[in-house]
């Protein structure tokens, strides 16, 4: 079985008016089938750039992005994406919004099968009864749930989430973490989550990658062995508190606010 996502020595720079801006440098990340990886790092270090490279929306200057055993050169239908902004289309109902990828991606589903699939996902995230509402009639958390449904409706192998819960209040965010767990137990995707919330990364991920400041490289990797079926309370166990402290320290190193040698 090929590794679903692998970044090999990826470097990338943006061309700006004041010369090239190196954003990623020699970045190596490997994600196993069905795993959940969270990426944290200082603001502006290149996390969104990383997602765009994996999605094939851009090609790296150097190195390769491998997806399901092939080098990524362009976007592919086996990827799903969701962002901090839920970007729902206001002229469509929630149901039609969720069905959007099925209109693009080739599939053998009939109209009613597509609808069933979308309805089933919406029910899974607790949006039953809101199928015919407009996005503007939903709360921020509900919109983000709908956006999550849209990102996986076409059964992608790889799900890329760029700070999807970043704009939500703390309570809603924790609700959505639970929703992510529920989705994951139903849908077999490999997930890459960008976040700036360390608790979120520990709660959701099997592995957390800390990126250094720009140009970003994988500065630290942490395996989160808290088992499946995590509860919010698990974040307050000694083990989790320890991991959070380690990650917090690594972020400070990445920001250049703490010396590196204390890390190990």
């Amino acid at each position: 079985m090929p590794v679903p996502i692998e970044l090999r020595a990826v470097s990338h720079a943006y061309k700006t008016d004041s010369g090239p801006l190196p954003v990623l440098r020699d970045l190596n990340i490997k994600m196993a089938e069905g795993s959940f990886t969270a990426v944290v790092g200082p603001s502006g270090c290149g996390k969104s750039t990383l997602t765009r490279l994996i999605a094939g929306l851009m090609r790296p200057d150097e190195g390769q992005v491998w997806l399901g055993g092939e080098i990524v050169t362009s976007p592919r239908a086996t990827v799903g994406m969701a962002f901090q902004n839920p970007v729902l289309l206001e002229w469509r109902s929630i149901l039609q919004n969720v069905m959007l990828p099925l209109e693009i991606v080739k599939n053998k589903l009939s109209k009613s099968q597509r609808e069933d699939r979308a309805r089933q996902l919406l029910a899974l995230v607790g949006l039953e009864g809101f199928e015919d509402k407009r996005p503007s009639e939903l709360s921020g958390g509900m919109r983000q749930r709908a956006s999550l449904c849209r990102s996986i409706v076409h059964r992608p192998q790889v799900l890329i989430l760029d700070e999807p819960f970043g704009a939500l209040d703390a309570f809603t965010r924790e609700d959505l973490w639970q929703t992510m767990h529920d989705l994951r137990s139903e849908e077999p995707f490999t997930c890459l989550l960008i976040t700036h919330d360390l608790r979120e990364s520990v709660f959701l991920a099997d592995e957390v990658v800390v990126l250094s400041g720009r140009p970003a490289t994988a500065q630290y990797k942490l395996t989160v062995d808290l088992g499946d079926n995590r509860k919010i309370d698990d974040l307050y166990t000694a083990k989790a508190v320890d991991m959070l402290a380690t990650l917090r320290h690594q972020i400070e190193v990445a920001q250049g606010r703490a010396p590196a040698e204390a890390a190990e």
Binding site: R52, L57, S74, M81, F83, N85, L89, E90, L100, R134
Partner: protein
Amino acid sequence: MKIFRKIAVPILAILIFLALWEWLVWFNNWPNYKMASPSDLWPAFWRFRWLFLEYGWQTLWRTVAGLGLAVVVGTLIGMVMGFSRTVREGLYPLLVGFNAIPKATVVPVIALIFVGQHDMNTILIAFMISFFPIAVSVSIGLSTLEPEYRDILRSLGASQFIVFWKIALPKTLPEFFGALKVAVTLAFIGTNLMEIVEPHGKGLGHLFDSGKINADYPLMFAVLIALAVLGILLFYIVVALEKVFAGWAERTAH
């Protein structure tokens, strides 16, 4: 209640306006060569009712043709400007300059280029005066599309055209209709400008002109009213189209 507010209230407003007008003329005892009163207008209408119909139709179809041209060309210009920054920056000064030229000065030029082709002249002026807001609104709508909107489809391998068709175009419709409401009035002004400045015996502008020549002041006022009615008609057709195609935008406002 809603129907009452949408229909009865505007009609009432118009009636009050007419009553005030009538009263003002009567109170000041103005002769009709200074200011015609609404009660003078109806006889003028009735006397020339067939001319009003015929000329009104001429004005109307040429305005709509000019506007149609403006929609097609304006949308195309807006699209290339919206998608390419180079084109946008290259075309902007040209468009602004073109738009700034008073169209009254263009009328004789156009009339000279297309001597005798009156319909064409008129349509062209209506087009020239009204395409600018459409082009600008479409280009702004497309160029300000947040990258995430593109990315949700592009990341699935959708083509540029699909992104345009499923997202950029519908998302731009509210701005487009906003511009169309401005453009419809402008096109109307353009048509009448041609008909009055460069008379060629057609349209309501011509009727206005003959009223002027014959010192038939009630007729001139009647033409103005007819123009206003046509303007209102066209405007509300656009509003109805907007409701059908971009009604969702209204709901978000609440």
